[in-house]
């Protein structure tokens, strides 16, 4: 198995025009990844799958990562593919592809036509992160119900408020405050009923 620099070089030759970049992992993990632009990810993946030197026939893991906006960085959703080779028993080659966080622009090409194994995992990434995989055969929600509109694994997702009250160390103090101030907070039941009427 060649070093990542060599793979980058070979892939750049095979797929002209592809913008490739090496992203280093922690020094301990030693798993550098290849960042590919959205337009050429399919071609690069196809090359890695079919080239006799690599034969990456096993797409082990597909997942999304949500990077929020930071000072120098507009924020993006990254889709990570971990490829192994069963035929040559080597790997992994890690492919990364980035898309903007906005829901309407968050699209990347689907690799399901290369590896069936990506089918459910891409559906999961769509469900949890809202990444639209173009030319995916069956892009529906897989874990949440169909009527659900959010993408809950995004870092800015706000979960529904359905926690119930639990006794805390501060409970007595709160109770006393309420009694002293003469405030009776509405019970959550009333609130729920109101919400139901609406």
């Amino acid at each position: 198995m060649e070093a990542i620099e060599k793979i980058k070089e070979v892939a750049a030759q095979a797929v002209p025009g592809a913008k490739l970049e090496i992203i280093n992992s922690t020094p301990a993990a030693q798993q550098p990844a290849l960042l590919v632009d959205r337009d050429h990810i399919y071609a690069v993946a196809k090359f890695l799958k079919e080239d006799p030197r690599f034969q990456m026939d096993f797409c082990s893991c597909v997942t999304g990562v949500d990077y929020l906006q930071k000072a120098d960085n507009p924020g993006f959703i990254e889709v990570v593919y971990h490829l192994y080779s069963v035929a040559q028993k080597h790997g992994p080659i890690i492919l990364k592809v980035r898309a903007p966080r906005e829901l309407d622009q968050c699209r990347v090409p689907s690799l399901t036509s290369l590896w069936r194994g990506a089918e459910f995992q891409e559906r999961e990434a769509y469900d949890l992160y809202g990444v639209r995989f173009d030319s995916h055969p069956d892009l529906r929600r897989i874990l949440m119900w169909d009527e659900f509109t959010d993408h809950p694994m995004r870092k800015d997702y706000v979960p529904p408020a359905d926690y119930e009250w639990e006794p805390t160390p501060h409970h007595d103090t709160l109770e006393r405050t309420v009694q002293v101030g003469g405030i009776t907070p509405p019970t959550a039941r009333e609130e729920l009923e109101k919400a139901r009427k609406k």
Binding site: P160, W165, P185, A188
Partner: protein, 214 residues
Amino acid sequence: MAVDEGLRSELQKQGIFVLPFEQLYNWGRKSSIWPLQFGLACCAIEMIASAAARYDLARFGAEVFRATPRQADLMIVAGTVTKKMAPLVVRLYNQMPEPKYCIAMGACAISGGPFKDGYNVLKGIDRYIPVDVHIPGCPPRPEALIHAIMTLQRKIANQHLETENRLRWYDKNAETEFPIPSYGDHDLQPPANCEVWQPPRSYRDVTLDEVKKA
């Protein structure tokens, strides 16, 4: 009509045993609790283990796990109830014939347990259906489930047909069919069944605000 306890013991001394219909009825029900064959998560494995060789739930006549809710008396909610699953659990409970009982097995079924913070986890099945016995533990040991069955047997034995504490089925005003929540855009609609579950008073304004929004 319950026989006076003193009279009964007096009669027993004379060699006359009085068996009220109610007692016979409760004995029949408590000796033959057939659970619904229905496992949700981790606890289901311990539920199977409690029916297996070492623990043997069959001793109590409770090993007849029926696959169809129509023939079951007891629903053991064994595991995490997610929001996607909750309407189906309520529907299964509705499909069971009265008199029916429910055991919430494990921390998740009681309150959401370790997964309580999750966006898709229901914070306890008692939000939608009445629970008769709660078993804490993650997962509870099979002994705990057997204890729960025995507790339920005690509960059944003390139920009445006519007084205040009568069976739900014999109470004309009681609800026997529970509303099934629907899938909403962000959460289940409604988030809880107020007839069954009344949340404790909340002092957290954040929660209230968000409830208002919902």
